[in-house]
Symmetry: C2
Subunit: 163 residues, 2 copies
Amino acid sequence: MTIPKRRSIRHIVLLAALLGALAAAGPGGLSWAKDDPKLRQAIEAANGQFIAATARGDAAALAALYTDEGQVLPPGGEPQTGREALKIFWQGALASGMKQAKLETVELTEAGDLAFEIGRFRLYGADGKLMESGKDLVVWKRERGVWKIHRDIWNDSPPPIGN
Amino acid sequence: MTIPKRRSIRHIVLLAALLGALAAAGPGGLSWAKDDPKLRQAIEAANGQFIAATARGDAAALAALYTDEGQVLPPGGEPQTGREALKIFWQGALASGMKQAKLETVELTEAGDLAFEIGRFRLYGADGKLMESGKDLVVWKRERGVWKIHRDIWNDSPPPIGN
């Protein structure tokens, strides 16, 4: 019976090592994957929906791209939180003449059920005239399995010459 | 020898379960801790250093609060990346009269070695006059064990009445 006992001890040591590894891999110590292709696909699809909803003038569809507690932090205004406030916010932007959006993902970094995206945007009016251009930082969150916009802040910067 | 064998099988099953748990706890599936007191302490200390460096007019100390590839995305200007560019950026802000900063953390969320912070800020000139007020979104990153500013974007919004 000595050999089996030794085996059991080895297994217990191995279990302890695994439990230690589990503890070390907790939220504080976990490394993060950068620019996972599946994540990038999901974010690009969501940004495509944003562009399509803008072209349709559909504020409810824009608001639906955010998490339940999603928030915009717009220049010159107070933060707006939650789907109803977001719908009203985007209705206002559409009413002010926003007809077309261009979005470009510059950087995308995953961190568990969160991800952050640095982007560039341009908003155009009915006549194709550039209304606003700048950069944004979006915190995405996987909510009920779907990547949604959780925090959304942007500011202006001049577009490149010739654009 | 049958009993020890059964034990070994039990151990193998247990090991498999643990390995499964480890795999499930990978970057994609890990839940994130919200507003960990240790993280909050570290971020508040770093924000305290930001305020002190502003008061001293020390652009190098401001730049040192960012990661090696840290980036600001300032309103009206292009993103500035890396410690030397950040030093020049903050030198410009200090030269334009920035003498005092007030920073308030509104929300702080940890995600492994990253965290994001929603904050409010006010910048004052030499005469104590409010120069700029608004909100910011900062992506913090733990670099060589120290929480540093990794991505930093802000925009203006009117301060509350009476402030």
